[in-house]
């Protein structure tokens, strides 16, 4: 087991290397002079431009710049935001809790909606209930999150007045954004649960369990679902990436503080260090979550470790 974990962690290194390379080269892939772009809204003197260039070490050879970027990142220094003039790590720290809250709550919504939906669909396969729940799931997969978000605001905030449309903080502020993000993730989980469940329900041990005379719900929940959920587990890791991407839109629609808003704001303000730092951070978190999922997967299903 330990060897397996060590192998997974080691496999992360090249991925992270690729991430730093991609994030670093952002500065050079954007056409034009990055310093002039960053200072575009200011009336600038050539000295100011030169000073900014030196401050960002853009006057050094590229390799040296990259080395400095990675070295600093390893020491936890992601540079300073041009716009707010605060360390990027501090900006991330201020916004992390809100996004984590949203991601976890959406995951909870996704699981709470997706698994029962998939389960019901599998149990009553080919009935109208199956078609209906898979129809809902299809709708969820196809619906853009900003559209769903605005619909929810329109209904639950403007007309019913149950939840506030904007802001962060307490539980009530979390409901609509979490449902928006979670509903979309739940659709994928529902579809996967259904197909995985259908496969398991046909297995011998399920037939055996039924033959022993166990109650229907007991067979489904304790024997079949447990095994059917293993593939669903993998999708959690992948979905988490989608969730992080979704926060960019959902946090903007609901004007909720968080990393997504931070990135959008950084892009609009042409704040390169902020965007680079935040993207690097989010990508690293995503990679780490997937390592954790891989490990959990191995714990849940001993066959994985052999492979």
């Amino acid at each position: 087991m330990l060897i397996y974990i060590a192998r997974r962690v080691l496999a992360v290194a090249p991925v992270l290397f690729g991430v730093t390379l991609a994030v670093f080269s952002m500065l050079f892939l954007v056409p034009g002079d990055p310093v002039k772009i960053m200072l575009a809204e200011f009336v600038t003197t050539p000295e100011q431009i030169a000073r900014m260039r030196a401050q960002l070490h853009l006057d050094e050879p590229v390799l040296q710049q990259y080395g400095r970027f990675v070295g600093n990142a390893l020491r936890g220094d992601l540079g300073t935001s041009i716009r707010s003039r605060r360390p990027v790590t501090q900006e991330i720290g201020d916004n992390l809790a809100s996004t984590a809250q949203l991601a976890l709550a959406s995951m909870a919504v996704a699981v709470a909606l997706g698994i029962p939906l998939g389960l019901i669909a599998a149990l009553v396969r080919n009935s109208w209930l199956d078609v209906a729940s898979m129809g809902v799931a299809l709708l969820g997969v196809s619906m853009p999150s900003f559209w769903l978000g605005l619909l929810l605001i329109f209904t639950f905030s403007l007309h019913l007045g149950w939840f506030p449309a904007t802001g962060g903080g307490d539980f009530l502020h979390l409901v609509l954004p979490a449902v928006t993000l979670g509903a979309i993730a739940s659709a994928i989980i529902a579809r996967l649960t259904r197909s995985s469940m259908l496969e398991v329900l046909g297995q011998d041990y399920v037939r055996t369990a039924r033959a022993k005379g166990l109650a229907g719900w007991s067979v489904v929940l304790r024997h079949a679902l447990k095994n059917a959920l293993i593939p669903v587990l993998t999708i959690f890791g992948l979905q988490f990436g989608n969730l992080l991407a979704g926060t960019v839109i959902v946090e903007t629609v609901f004007s909720r503080p968080g990393l997504g808003r931070l990135i959008v704001g950084g892009i609009l303000a042409k704040d390169f260090p902020l965007v680079q730092g935040t993207v690097l951070f989010v990508a690293t978190v995503y990679v780490l979550i997937n390592v954790i999922v891989d490990v959990t997967y191995a714990v849940a299903d001993p066959r994985i470790r052999l492979g």
Binding site: V30, P31, G32, D33, P34, K36, I37, A40, E41, F42, V43, T44, R83, S84, R85, R86, E91, D94, N95, S98, F146, L150, I153, F154, S157, L158, L160, G161, W162, P164, A165, T166, G167, G168, G169, D170, F171, L172, E251, T252, V253, F254, S255, R256, P257, G258, R261, L262, V264, G265, A269, K270
Partner: protein, 530 residues
Amino acid sequence: MRLSHMRWVGAVAAVVGLVLAGFPAGAADTPGTLVIGLDQEPPTLDPHASPSAVTYQIIASVTENLLYKGRDGKLQPWLAESWSASKDGRSVTFKLRRDVKFHDGTPFNADAVKFNFDRIVDPKFKPGSSRAQIAGYAGSKVLDEFTVQVSFETPYAPFLTYAAAGTLSLVSPKAVRESGDQVHTRPVGTGPFMMKDYVAKDHATIVKNPAYNRKAPWSERSGPALLETIIWKFIPEAGTRVATLESGETQGIYLVPAQSLPRLESSKDMRVDRMPWPGVPRIWLLNTTKPPLDDVKVRRAINFAVDKEAFLATVYKGTGLKAFAPLTAVMLDEPSLRQAFAFDAAKARDLLGEAGWAPGADGIRTKGGQRLEIILNAIEYGGGADPTAQLIQASLRDVGVDVKIKAQARPPWYEDNYRCATHGPVMFLRATDPDGLYALFHSSLVGQNFNWSCVKNGKLDQLLEQGRRESDPVKRRAVYLQIEKLALDEALTVPLVDELAVWAFRANVQGVKYNFNAYPVLSDATTTRR
């Protein structure tokens, strides 16, 4: 086992129920509190460090200036009781009020004024728009406790206007020294409101300054603000922002999308305020160096051909007025400017004919086998080019000009402007002094911000420099009128739309006033319960 599960579910349901019951549905109006939704979060609230209008929307009633410029455009005393410019135009002496204290209790005096201006030019400080507004600052001299003389290396008349702009508003020296970086979120001023808190990506709160016993220059009465608290919420999504106003979660919003305006205006629960922005309108800077726009006849023809009414009727629906000149009408208005280029497609066709461009087979004019093509530099915002670009395209097609829209991301857009590579961009500039035209037309700024007409005109340079030296308001106006007429005669630009700052409030919000910058000043604002 089953029972314990049921209990657990029951407990969760109960907790959720309690949590829901614990919060009021929607947001209740708290008396004395006004919640306003803004389209963006300020990069900083430090007036000297910000490049962004949103900063000054929030702090317009928090920090105060030496002078005040009201809606009529006239300068009035504020923290300075009186002022006088030296004969050579290189310095201004301010006599300060003696009864002013900063929110932290420290006195406002000549030392504080000197500290503020010195701070902006300090090489260790990273200034925003403030730095350019005291270009050539030579220093401040404290003549006595309440008299200060501010000097410049060369005559610099725009300083008086900028002394009334939020960018040069004054903060407590003690607070800056002691709180360091906190000025970014908590500027300590002298105004009727004080910063209370700032929650990133969420909101900023300002509260009444109970010690304010003066008469704010926009107000008819002395004494503190009428509201207790104003909360500025940052709501970037326009649809969400309008929804919060309609649900009552906010009682005011800034930047009302054009498609929501008719609905809000027809509602008796809402009120819409439109304030013209000072500065340069939405304008097409014609690159005068790139053929065929090096021919003034072609540039004039384009000015006659662009149908500005179409802009107002489609994209701007109620959020703009027709523009006539390189300065918006609120800056300088004169009948002769308004008559310069009335929409006249026939005249445009004649001018193009005179310039040698004859109608071609496909409707596009040609000259010596060359098609009449114009490349318009436009920013790609993700949903295609700016719709104004398409309106220009349609207007010019009617007179036989083929406009190609070069829609691109911001960075290469700037790069093309610096290199004078296209036939020019559509842009705008906010400025409270007509000296904003210096950035647009002075020959030294080709290849920089913002002489993107790439114009090098000796007469224009001389007038722009004269405008900086001239301190007499009447003579100054005459100089800028001459500049505008010259710019129109040379057809350096196509002025399109004087944009309006559009605010919407619930009808029970009263007493909102605006300064010359089109920022709300709120010490007389009230909310009544309906």
